[in-house]
């Protein structure tokens, strides 16, 4: 592990100044960064700890009814938050999958996003929920859709000196269900071989007016399964439509084979998990949840 300077800024502008020094990495939970640095896979001359920043460590309901989640909030807190559990269930479910209990007590959404692993569990749920991220730097702030953050495995589009400060979720709507299912050989402490998140919004007549599907671990970045969404749009969530959407989503997957799974198996999992996640959404909508 290389020697580094450790910074504990108490304001966002202090944090941005520390980042501007170059060769800096952000630290929230450290559950990715610390093992990567110890194994020599990442280096940093400066480590900037975000956990003293109020904006990064709180969850606030917004004026428009949406939610602002600090990038450094631990995922176990995200999972337990009543608003998230009630209105953004896909995220609550995923937050409990980011590693063991011990890891969940530290790992953050910001870290899960910026580590940019294609298998990041929080990302497909955030994408289908319409998340945006707030990027802060010495030059100011910008808010962009979460999907635009990913450049490739382990790489984001953030420029040097930029910091992901918060995640913004839109106000929840009626007749909405969301869920995330992933597949892992073990029931805990595992990386998704494939993961599928979906959010379905129906009108009062039961017709789908908005469908979003996002996939983990089957492309260089998390991706939307647009073809699957198109199958659903304007339809009812019946078995035939679900199966067709699952088939279409499978077609969007471009996985690789690695030690965790083969490409063939991952594609097959996309079909199975999409079917299951959509069925879950249907059941939730029927139950009026």
């Amino acid at each position: 592990m290389n020697l580094f300077d450790y910074h504990r800024p108490s304001t966002l502008s202090e944090a941005c100044e520390a980042l501007a020094a170059g060769g800096a990495r952000l630290l929230a939970g450290g559950t990715d960064l610390i093992p990567q640095m110890r194994e020599g896979r990442r280096e940093a001359a400066h480590i900037v700890d975000l956990k003293r920043l109020a904006e990064c460590t709180s969850i606030e309901v917004r004026a428009d009814g949406g939610l602002t989640i600090g990038a450094a909030v631990a995922s176990s807190i995200v999972a337990r938050h009543p608003v998230i559990a009630e209105h953004y269930p896909a995220l609550a479910v995923a937050a409990l999958m980011i590693g063991s209990h011990q890891v969940q007590n530290r790992a953050s959404l910001g870290g899960n996003i910026c580590n940019a692993a294609p298998s990041a569990d929080a990302v497909p749920p955030l994408i289908v929920l319409g998340a945006q991220v707030e990027i802060v730097s010495g030059e100011g702030r910008r808010v962009v859709p979460l999907e635009t953050i990913f450049a490739g495995p382990g790489r984001t589009t953030l420029a040097a000196g930029e910091l992901l400060a918060t995640i913004i979720l839109p106000a929840p709507q009626a007749n909405t269900a969301s869920h995330y299912i992933r597949f892992t050989p073990r029931r805990e402490m595992d990386i998704a071989a494939a993961g599928v998140a979906a959010r379905i919004i129906r009108d009062d007549a039961g017709v789908i007016i908005n469908a979003r599907i996002a996939l983990a671990s089957v492309a260089p970045t998390p991706i939307r399964a647009m073809a699957g969404e198109q199958v659903l749009s304007g339809q009812r969530l019946d078995d035939a439509t679900i199966e067709a959407a699952a088939q279409a989503a499978m077609g969007e997957a471009r996985p690789i084979s690695d030690t965790r799974a083969s490409a063939e198996y991952r594609r097959e999992l996309v079909r199975v998990l999409t079917r299951r996640v959509l069925t879950h959404c249907r059941d939730a909508l029927e139950a009026g949840r």
């Binding site: 580094f4 559950t31 610390i34 093992p35 194994e39 011990q102 007590n105 530290r106 029931r187």
Partner: protein, 157 residues
Amino acid sequence: MSRIMLTCRINGETVSALVDPRDTLLELLRERLGLTGTKEGCGNGNCGSCTVLVDGAPVNACLMLAQEAPGCEITTIEGLSGAQGLTDLQQNLAEAGATQCGFCTPGIVISATALLAENPAPTDADIRRAIAGNLCRCTGYDKIVRAIALTATQRGG
């Protein structure tokens, strides 16, 4: 190579130690403070042998920098029992035969202590979920789960 002086709260005491800036919390505990009850099984958060409580929450000490420790209340296995003897949980684990080689045991004790503080009436599934981040290779988990369940029952859960 310069060392840094850190002051932390460990097991209810304020302690200071000279650390290498790269030290993890685990290295601070084991190498600098001589608190060797917390073990290293993997060094990257995949076995739970290094589980400690940070502000009451179970955390892998190998995934935290020592420099993050100041300002936190940290509890290690050494801090759970003392002049007052073993906790009821520790007693039950010992009596149930829930420890064999003992290497995973401190981490399990910490995770289970946190579970029972948060959930006084856990189901077996809750218990297994709470210790799913603590790998044990010797016991098969059975007697560990029973001892934790017994502790909850005895406490009136």
